[in-house]
């Protein structure tokens, strides 16, 4: 690379500013002796360099790539005449664009086939591990990372997909990046990032039966709004979060970005270690014990200070559902769409536009509204626990006639386990349609589209206009609520059917 020549006056300037900077760095470190947050500990341990007046050079432990946001980045490094810096730290799988039927056949959609081929080519050329279609490890990036033990506490992880925040559930700093940043990581295993502010959200107390991780996160976003987390990295804490399974914690961290936050994370504990233990790429034997000893230090110090801190009472949380066109427009399933008088003046326009799109009115009761589609899947709720929750609920019941119900496992492994546990059979008997792993109707890049005007209750993470297909209408909810809706054909509080 073109290093400045020594005769260049800019070089002097440059080093001048670096030495200035050192002084302030020590000062910062000194200040942090007062107590560090979990986020600080992981972030600071990965800072290779800091740029005066600029972002940090952050080292990335794991880079996940998929077919849609990586081709331009590979083209970029090839144009520079360089190769992937640390191919062993990158893992690839096609997920966004893949069909969820007949995955053993050539892909019919040409663009999709082209992108999948490109991914395969690029991985072969650069020596990157690829779990392609039909590979037993294939699936949605954010589902396979954790289930293969690739995701581990204390890591920095990135992927060209905003829901990379999912991996924060393990006590890692994980966030989504753009294509030019994918290129940065491929080229150098580092990324230039300004350090975000820190927020802690505590959820204390016990959740009522029928209230799940998805309800926690939809509740939190409905309280802080879809932009309330902007500029922050959120640590989720409190007894209600501690009591969640790893799958539940992933759901919470996954949707943290729907509040505008850069990402979310949860301190690792026995639940985390137990989950990671024995997985394909997790440390084994003595290495595992050593790793756990290190991971146990990944907590926020008692005297650490957050830029913002909020506490919610778990007892206030009920099954939640969204009624509008951003994930912050959510309320209790049993509740009503707010009246116009309850909406802040500055939001009124967005609200009315959302009501028009959804075909709802201010003040409407949600229970009883007829639904057309139920979608269970995505990196938010396409894991084995989610499928299990749906199967347990629908066992011995049948889906309503007006409902088309799709279940899309998050990965091949989830699919396999669902078969082994008899979940698949239960779901088929209840009239659900089972698809093959992929992002599917979460973003409808493949054929899995909700038709125009149809109303879907989805376990995914975004209810934007047209997200599930042009003109589709989406209400986000938990897998349990989705199961109850599938059975009754209408919006219903699942607790009334337990």
């Amino acid at each position: 690379m073109r290093l400045p020549s020594s005769g260049n006056p800019s070089l002097v300037l440059l080093f001048g500013s670096f030495s200035n900077y050192n002084t302030s760095f020590h000062y910062l470190n000194f200040k942090k002796l007062a107590g560090k947050t979990l986020f600080d500990k992981i972030w600071d341990a990965h800072v290779v360099d800091e740029i005066p007046g600029g972002p940090s050079v952050l080292y990335i432990d794991k880079h996940l790539i998929h077919e849609v946001t990586s081709p331009q980045a590979f083209a970029g490094i090839e144009k520079r005449g360089i190769s992937v810096a640390r191919p062993q730290n990158t893992v690839a799988t096609p997920d966004h664009n893949v069909p969820t039927v007949d995955q053993h056949l050539p892909i019919k959609d040409q663009l999709s086939q082209f992108q999948v081929n490109k991914l395969t080519e690029n991985c072969e050329k650069h020596g990157i591990a690829l779990y392609g279609l039909n590979h037993p490890f294939q699936g949605i990036v954010h589902v396979i990372g954790p289930e293969l033990g690739i995701t581990q506490p204390g890591m920095t992880m990135v992927c060209g997909d905003s829901h990379t925040s999912t991996h924060g559930a393990f006590g890692s700093v994980a966030f989504g990046i753009g294509t030019s940043e994918v290129e940065m990581v491929l080229a150098t295993q580092c990324i230039l990032q300004p350090k975000p502010k820190k927020m802690r959200i505590n959820v204390e107390g016990e959740l009522e039966t029928g209230v799940t991780a998805k309800d926690i996160v939809l509740y939190v976003i409905s309280k802080i709004t879809a932009s309330g987390g902007t500029g922050y990295f959120i640590e989720f804490a409190g007894s209600a979060i501690r009591n969640l399974s790893m799958e539940g914690r992933m759901t919470v961290c996954n949707m943290s970005i729907e509040s505008g936050a850069r990402g979310g994370l949860i301190a690792p504990d026995e639940t985390t270690f137990e989950y990671v233990k024995g997985r394909e790429f997790a440390p084994k034997g003595e290495d595992f014990d050593k790793a756990v000893a290190k991971w146990k230090k990944l907590t926020t110090d008692a005297d650490a200070v957050f830029d913002k801190e909020l506490t919610f009472d778990a007892a206030d949380i009920e099954p939640m559902i969204t009624y509008g066109t951003n994930p912050g427009m959510g309320t209790k399933v049993k509740g009503q769409i707010p009246a116009e008088s309850e909406i802040e003046a500055s939001n009124l326009k967005t609200f009315s536009k959302a009501m028009d799109y959804m075909g709802f009115s201010a003040g409407d009761t949600l229970v009883g509204k007829e639904v057309d589609f139920v979608f269970v899947g995505s990196c938010t709720n396409g894991r084995i626990e989610d499928l299990r929750a749906v199967a347990n609920f629908v066992k011995g019941r049948k889906k309503a006639d007006n409902i088309t119900a799709w279940i899309v496992p998050g990965s091949k492994q989830v699919e396999k386990q669902a078969n082994e546990e008899g979940i698949t059979e239960t779901l088929l008997q209840a009239g659900f349609k089972l698809r093959q792993p992929g992002c599917s109707a979460c973003l409808a890049m493949n054929d899995d589209k909700i038709p125009t005007g149809k109303l879907a209750v989805a376990t995914s993470n975004r209810n934007f206009e047209g997200r599930q297909g042009p003109g589709s209408r989406t209400m986000l909810a938990s897998p349990l609520t989705a199961a109850a809706v599938a059975v009754t054909g209408k919006i219903v509080d699942p607790r009334t059917l337990l």
């Binding site: 690379m1 073109r2 290779v48 972002p55 050079v57 030019s180």
Partner: protein
């Protein structure tokens, strides 16, 4: 994208004394379908440059021979509108290295810097002086000195300082973008990796 080293530029300038030049004027949305960053210069200010029958409009500055150079001087609030990087690509691809204005839209400024185009923000008064100098003599030269962060009207010697983020300044001076910057940190990155084993 590696960019040319930027140290000092002395050039005649193209005046565009219009306020609020937005990204849709810089590059109309219908020209955004390309998948690479090249070739956008052809359609820079398309609808101001050409009429409906694709004939050049003689009254537009880019079509007037007397104006040339690698510095574009725009009115206040240059680059407002959408976040599309294409606007900066188009100006750079056309051959400009500097855009001068008394105010830039934030995102445009960043996009410009990321693509080797230097936005020079000066006072309204100094901007007026520049326009005046070019108006009196189309071959009036401007000197943009990035190291000292100064812009000078060469004929009169009048100058004014401008601000730039020190990291971006370093990138421009050395002709590299964020990825080049990181590639230059290779040793540090390797040291970091070794320190963790």
């Amino acid at each position: 994208m590696a960019v040319d080293k930027f140290i000092t530029i002395e050039s005649t300038a193209v005046p565009l004394p219009i306020e609020n030049v937005d990204t849709d004027q810089i590059i109309p949305a219908r020209f955004l379908k390309a998948t690479t960053r090249d070739g956008f210069g052809e359609n820079l200010f398309r609808d101001w440059r050409y009429d409906k029958t694709d004939q050049p409009k003689t009254d537009f500055v880019l079509n007037q021979d007397k104006y040339s150079g690698t510095i574009l001087v725009g009115g206040k609030n240059f680059g407002s509108g959408s976040s599309r990087e294409h606007a900066a690509w188009a100006i750079h691809d056309y051959g400009f290295k500097v855009v001068v204005s008394s105010f830039f839209a934030d995102i445009f400024k960043n996009n410009a810097l990321n693509n080797g185009l230097l936005p020079v923000q000066i006072s309204d008064q100094f901007l007026a002086k520049i326009f005046e100098a070019i108006d009196q003599d189309a071959s009036a030269k401007l000197k943009v000195d990035l190291i000292n962060q100064e812009i000078t009207i060469v004929s009169s010697g009048e100058k004014e300082g401008f601000d730039i983020n020190s990291y971006k300044k370093e990138c421009l001076l050395n002709g590299y973008d964020d990825i080049d910057y990181l590639l230059n940190k290779k040793d540090k990155i390797e040291q970091f990796e070794q320190s963790r084993v």
